[in-house]
Symmetry: C2
Subunit: 256 residues, 2 copies
């Protein structure tokens, strides 16, 4: 049953055929996923995807107000449609909706970063330790590492960051839960809001690439405990670095 066609994310291509009660026609199997490709194009979904991309890419910096009338005219959609898209993004915490004031691109503070990294440590490390790593998930981890290394070699820093997020999504996928994947992917997207606040967002991910590679190797070798330990250290360092960045930033703003 394709009851999951809602607008969850930009790339949620996973239907996962399930309990097939009685299908007499064998050659028809596997078409349930094709339906989604036909017309999953509601204006609200496309709108939410576009806005989400703009926010994640940094085109709309944190704190930016998204005025309804202006934005609706700009995007060529109705104000009501835009409001529906805003509700989705607010639920994803990419924007905040202040009553009678408007919607603003979210600004993450130190507490948010701590909160997110607390969750990441718990979930990612538990996923690594779970052990029952299905081969495709492990392959995806390795693929993400290779993509990141290639991007580093070619100095495409933005792609390095994207590959890093892909790596961590693959880590979470080790747990084998679609819901957990969605939750964490959303949180990683949220985390991107803070990258743009950093002084040098491009180089941020670069030092972690070789650690990703080490973690991938440990996972491939089944040494999950060591992988989890390295991963914990990784997350601790990244969190500390982001918190430093935020402290400087807020110091700038507060002191001036």
């Amino acid at each position: 049953m394709a009851q999951d066609g809602s607008s969850a994310g930009p790339e949620s291509g996973d239907a996962g055929g399930s309990g097939a009660p009685d299908e007499r026609s064998a050659p028809l199997a596997g078409l349930s996923g094709a339906r989604m490709l036909l017309d999953r194009t509601s204006t609200v979904s496309k709108l939410a995807d576009a806005l989400r991309a703009q926010i994640i890419e940094g085109a709309l910096p944190p704190g930016t107000q998204l005025a309804e009338h202006a934005a609706a005219k700009e995007l060529g959609v109705s104000r009501n449609t835009l409001r529906e898209a805003f509700r989705l993004l607010a639920h994803e915490r990419l924007v905040v909706h202040e009553p009678h004031r408007g919607v603003f691109v979210r600004t993450l503070d130190a507490d948010d970063v701590r909160d997110i990294y607390t969750t990441r440590r718990l979930v990612e490390c538990a996923a690594v330790r779970a052990g029952d790593a299905p081969p495709p998930a492990v392959a995806e981890i390795r693929a993400a590492v290779k993509t990141a290394e290639l991007a580093v070699a070619e100095s495409r820093w933005h792609d390095v960051g994207t590959a890093d997020l892909r790596f961590h999504s693959a880590i979470v996928a080790l747990a084998g839960s679609r819901r957990l994947n969605d939750m964490m992917r959303r949180m990683l997207a949220e985390l991107r809001l803070v990258f743009h606040v950093m002084a040098d967002p491009h180089r941020f991910h670069e030092p972690y690439v070789h650690r990703n590679a080490a973690i991938a190797t440990l996972i491939e070798q089944g040494r999950t405990r060591e992988a989890a330990e390295v991963l914990t250290g990784y997350l601790d360092d990244a969190e500390a670095q982001l918190l430093r960045g935020i402290a400087e930033r807020s110091g700038d703003r507060g002191g001036g």
Copy 2:
């Protein structure tokens, strides 16, 4: 449930508002939290709360179609406003939104149950193991157990189920992450959809109450490893029981 302070609250009301506006006047401190209590009453939020409650309570069984025009007239709101509420509920997976067909109360299948319990095992056990249990969180666990025991003694089965969910929310709260709490609470609400499909939903939670008590004791004693093991068994059994219920159910429908 009106007594329950931690009922499903509106989720859109969180602002990044930690921006401490330098307050020289000391007696004004602590008012920043009062603002939310004033007018946090948007129609969409109230609407979503009402629908969510109805769905969770079982007043709207899984599979029920929620026609926009009829529901809007019934609820005394505009169709657009209702659609915004539907977007929220769809994002919480309580309803499914099929394009050009409508929104339906979600029907969970066996794969959904497996997925949810995979996540629960990972997150709840990791939260228990985390170790750094803040006292208030532990107290909340014990309080949930006592509430459940009292409800059992008085044969208030529905309250038993509510207390059980409260217990597990408290377990997750051990991790100390607001985001993780929200995610898991949403998933537990989703899980309630499957309870109503069970043959005897009331008695379902009853056998687990004493296990909850045992887990609470182990946590209070700091024996987190044993607590996690008991919890894993708990979740395995509950999952198996739900899967049996779903199998019977689908057997009814499919075999006839």
